[in-house]
Symmetry: C2
Subunit: 211 residues, 2 copies
DNA sequence: TCTTATTTTAAACATGCGTTTAACTCAGTT
DNA sequence: AACTGAGTTAAACGCATGTTTAAAATAAGA
């Protein structure tokens, strides 16, 4: 027999990843989970806490795995931007342990977490896994010594934006792509298409330093 | 004396661009504009119509200007990805006519228009200015004959995502950047930093075609 | 088995939203 | 001077949200 708390988590993940956090009401969640409305507040305290519980379930698997990948790569003498970016793939696939469609769910949740003004989610991530994020940043910098920290900062966030947008708008975009040139695109394929784009963008020459 | 309708538009633009469309209530707008709550529905009919009026004010200046820039470039025999992307700059700056901080406002509005699920805004843009968007796409393709339509489609949307994210999260990111390495970044500077990133990402080799 | 926690439930609560209503103001017209 | 119509206003409407309450049901322990 499935516990009420788990039913809530599973339904919340699904609906959050489809419609975003703010656009999903507790009534939708409890209806999908087939539990009573008040049980969310009983088990999680508040909607905000439920959101954090949902995110934490994925972050606590993804972040340590990413940290380990970065550790391995760091032992090499040199590495490219693509090498660092490639460290993301395995930890992402590891999210299948959490849920069969975990990788897609997590990326979509991440997208909404940033595009909505979920300030508490950003804070939550940084206080728990800030060191991993920082390490990632430093290794990208190591791979691109020709770029200033400032330029790298912005390019990494451009990359993040590209990924998040592709995930959040993913379904709509895949439908358009299908209508425009009759070719299906799988959700995971999107992420693979992203990597070379991002790698080239990050490693591009910096106009500022050419002056 | 400033008309009520204009006071509403100005206040709505400001608040929409700061907090998004759904996160901004009519009560906030009418309070900021110092007009009565009901006057929005009287002058615009509904919140949805107000949103479209706000967007239209910028689109009707930006899109024709972009179209003209593309026309000029199209007369050249060849052009690069950067050339096509550079066509965006002048029309963006032209938005100063609409409002002194028009360029920033418009980019931020665009960001929210896509990151929130404002389906009607996408439809609105495509029915009115779909031919400009399509022309832009085709010229990017012309500049990158080595890439498949599918790859280009995705890379353009990655680029869009990078730009939108930088705008929507722009203020928060600039604050972080300032705290991290004590360097101010102007809102418009962000857009300039974006261009080389996007140009390199779009023009990158396509792994698929290398197989 | 009786008692005590724990969990579930239906109902209500307080708040904020977009919208509508109907009364009122006031310049312009007849 | 009386009328007209666009504009403004305060108030209320209907609805949806997250949260709380208190009673009922179930599970656990003595």
């Amino acid at each position: 027999m499935v516990k009420t708390k788990d039913k809530i988590i599973l339904a919340a993940e699904k609906l959050f990843s489809e419609h975003g956090f703010e656009q999903t009401s507790l009534r939708q969640i409890t209806s999908e989970a087939d539990v009573n409305l008040a049980s969310v507040n009983y088990h999680f305290g508040s909607k905000k806490s439920l959101i954090q519980a949902v995110m934490s379930r994925y972050q606590s698997v993804f972040m340590p795995a990413l940290d380990e990948q970065l550790s391995r790569l760091a032992e090499h003498e040199t590495y490219s931007t693509t090498d660092v970016l490639a460290c993301i793939t395995a930890p992402l696939i590891a999210l299948r342990q959490v849920r069969i469609d975990g990788p897609v769910i997590y990326l979509r949740l991440l997208g909404f977490a940033y595009s909505e003004i979920q300030g508490h989610l950003r804070k939550f991530t940084m206080t728990h896994f800030g060191h991993v994020v920082q390490r990632f940043f430093e290794m990208i910098q190591q791979a691109n010594p020709h770029l200033s920290r400032k330029t790298l900062f912005w390019r990494l966030h451009f990359s993040l934006g590209a990924m998040l947008f592709a995930q959040v708008s993913g379904q709509a975009l895949r439908e358009i792509a299908l209508a425009d040139f009759g070719e299906e695109t799988q959700a995971e394929e999107t992420f693979l298409k992203l990597l070379p784009f991002v790698a080239a963008g990050i490693a591009a020459d910096d106009p500022e330093s050419q002056i």
